[in-house]
Symmetry: C2
DNA sequence: TAATTGATTGAACGTACGGTGAATTAATGA
DNA sequence: TCATTAATTCACCGTACGTTCAATCAATTA
């Protein structure tokens, strides 16, 4: 109207993309809040104030396709986080290194806690191997962490031990808390995550440092 | 007919109890196989070859009531298992004691693995605090285990450390494997449970024994 | 302006499910 | 034998859900 020609090439495309994006964001929020099975397609449409058919215009595969798209999104994001600055860890003292690893691992899962719950509680709805991707992510960290421990041993910082298992143990302890909090069953006897993590690290350092 | 008086007091009661029991056993099997939400009431009735209304005759609360009954059953059973022979552990060498604890913990969860999955994946269907009971069961083991460690330290068998946390760590490592296998996501990078447990124990003993 | 394209609508479909209740059947006790 | 009791049947209800599609509307283009 009052504006000039056309500020963007096509308004339609732009609005369509916006609608699609709104659908995705709303679905993610509702999935997080009520779970996948707990979220009717209608609730998503209603939430953005559009009619029932709209979701199938953008996602012919329906609800399931949306979940797939969202999971891929999440995994790409997580991948970036965990890859960040692997080498700087080597130069930190054991305690700080453990602290960093622990906090990253925790963040990795808990920053999308409500949504991640779908992976744990409803992952049978996925044909794609979301679960496999996730466990690969973790298992690869085991060997990576173990080799870090080994080099620390060679530097004389920590005692000799089964490094792979030490890595598994440390990661397990952190993971169990996270998994517990995601599936809603407290296995660790702790409410306060930060305190738990700090004590876990102190305990581990105490056992690992050369006597 | 050919038999004498009446071998049992009342045939009706007997058959009714049998029907009720058949319903429970069938429900447990189907719940384990397909999950709670994945098991229609009709499937249970069809499986025992009876009509649709029958389930509500014995369980007015429907499907949900059945799950409640089954969970109580399971928890009573588990309680008995974990209580067994606490003191004999004290007299075993560290390695054997850890082995026993680890195997009991594993058995506790895995002997009803398929059914336990409901607790982890669908426990939101329960008003009753099945999850709370379960975590209590675990957390109480932490302190029990920690005090066992402390007395071993006083006997000079193991080094000084944060005993509560040592207990948590050991139990966590075992639990994570079990939880992984129940929810179907491999967090431990291991397929063979027995080997995993043995190595975990060897690693732990190595760290704990007095140098 | 007129034709075209595709985004959006909303009523409707089919199905699966949990649940109900009056009718039926068979065992029980008088 | 007959009345009573309760186990069992099954047709039926209401609802929630995922999904479809012909119709409508608005933006774009010729």
């Amino acid at each position: 109207m009052s504006g000039g020609r056309r500020t963007d090439r096509n308004l339609r495309q732009e609005q369509a993309a916006e609608t699609r994006e709104k659908l995705l964001r709303t679905a993610k929020a509702l999935f997080a809040q009520n779970g996948y099975h707990g979220t009717p397609v209608r609730a998503i449409n209603r939430e953005i104030g559009m009619a029932d058919g709209i979701l199938y215009h953008y996602f012919p595969g329906g609800k399931r396709e949306m979940l797939g798209v969202l999971l891929q999104e999440i995994f790409i994001e997580k991948g970036k986080l965990i890859e960040a600055s692997s080498e700087e860890l080597d130069n930190l003292p054991l305690k700080e290194a453990l602290e960093l690893i622990s906090s990253r691992l925790t963040k990795l899962f808990l920053e999308d806690k409500d949504f991640m719950r779908i992976l744990f509680r409803e992952h049978e709805v996925l044909d794609i191997e979301g679960a496999v991707l996730l466990s690969k992510l973790i298992v690869e960290r085991h060997t990576w962490f173990a080799s870090m421990l080994e080099s620390r041993h060679e530097r004389g910082e920590i005692r000799k031990m089964d490094f792979l298992f030490a890595a598994k143990q440390f990661i397990s302890m952190n993971l169990l808390y996270v998994v517990s909090s995601i599936i809603g069953i407290n296995f660790t006897g702790t409410e306060d995550l930060t305190e738990y993590r700090l004590r876990a690290i102190a305990h581990t350092v105490d056992l690992w440092l050369v006597p």
